[in-house]
Symmetry: C2
DNA sequence: GTCTATACAAAGATAGAC
DNA sequence: GTCTATCTTTGTATAGAC
């Protein structure tokens, strides 16, 4: 997942969407003005409304695309019949470690969306068969029949994703640099599988 | 931590702050207008600025209070010399289970603040001796000397807090009711200590 | 000090010219 | 499809009554 660059020959609509993504990630919804988005794209602010109806709609689309990118690749992982639980956990960890270090702004969109419009994420999941009926759910049930598989999923995802939500706090309260916290997050990907395995062993 | 009710004889300033808290929780920062806050409080919108200088400042104060409430009670838990690790984990779980079920809107403020202004939360922690030097950090190090205590804290907090960030998604994707998800969250408080213990046992 | 009425500027949205 | 002018909403500031 590489950072998007706006091609010089892209359409106006694409320019605006990319400019919107940039500025929204940098300044958040409230801190962004449509005029600034237009400036970033080299156009007048009226065009933001012309193409996207409203600032809100544009934000919606940007968010929706971030969500789709965030979840898109996990379905093949959790639904793979040929991998065992440990391999799936490693797959999830590696994927999220990579994408969330490369696109730190993304986790903000995801956690906001999970709380503001959970139905949209739930729908995205259902369209991809979801987690409840995924192969990983069956494997989790086999490992720990005493605990609901979705409870275990919350544990696993919490351990993987929460550090990216709280990384700023930990970085500052430990008094370390941006690079050091990234190093910790990468180290984390190494030992997490073993910790999760220990947790799941009955 | 019971829901605040605005007493009829409270001051104008308190009325505005409570109205602001209500509307901000319901509609978020961008979705809230100062005029609506004033309506909710039964006053004219100019008073929001008179008492709080700006919408931003009011939001700041509301958020800061939510953060203080969220973290305030954990310091005595994690710094208690007389409890062992397992008891501390149970203390954290019980506290967060209680407060986050009773005030579901709080987790939104916390996760936003962790990402938007992590330095404020870090400062709040430092003022209370923080996590890195807390008794719990020492005990985590004794349990798993091979892994940085803060890494383990991220695991524990992730398992406890992440479900409240993602509850809406899980509720919908499992097709269950509000009450059912709350039941799951309460059940969770029962078995989490054992799972965490298993994870920490070397 | 508290509050009302009002003014003003910034920003989202829209109509109409080109 | 693009841009300018304009309208409306909303955050902010202030003058003046009490």
């Amino acid at each position: 997942m590489s950072k998007k660059v706006i091609p010089a020959d892209s359409t106006t609509e694409e320019k605006i969407k990319e400019a919107g993504r940039k500025v929204f990630i940098r300044k958040g919804y409230a801190g962004t003005t449509t005029r600034e988005i237009a400036d970033e794209a080299g156009l007048t602010h009226a065009l933001v409304n012309y193409y996207f109806r409203s600032k809100d709609k544009l934000f919606d689309i940007v968010t929706q695309e971030q969500v789709a990118a965030f979840f898109g690749k996990i379905y093949p992982i959790v639904n793979n019949e040929d991998t065992n639980l440990d391999e799936k956990v490693k797959g999830l960890i590696n994927y999220y470690t990579e994408i969330l270090i490369e696109e730190p702004g993304m986790v903000f969109f995801i956690s906001s969306e999970m709380q503001n419009r959970p139905e949209r994420i739930a729908k995205n999941m259902e369209d991809n068969q979801g987690l409840a009926k995924a192969v990983i759910a069956r494997q989790l049930h086999e490992a720990r029949p005493d605990i609901h598989p979705m409870q275990l999923m919350m544990c696993i995802l919490g351990m993987i994703i929460f550090p990216y939500i709280s990384r700023g706090v930990f970085q500052r309260s430990m008094g370390i640099s941006e690079n050091d916290i990234i190093k910790m997050l990468k180290e984390r990907a190494e030992f997490l599988p073993a910790l999760i395995k220990a947790m799941l062993s009955n």
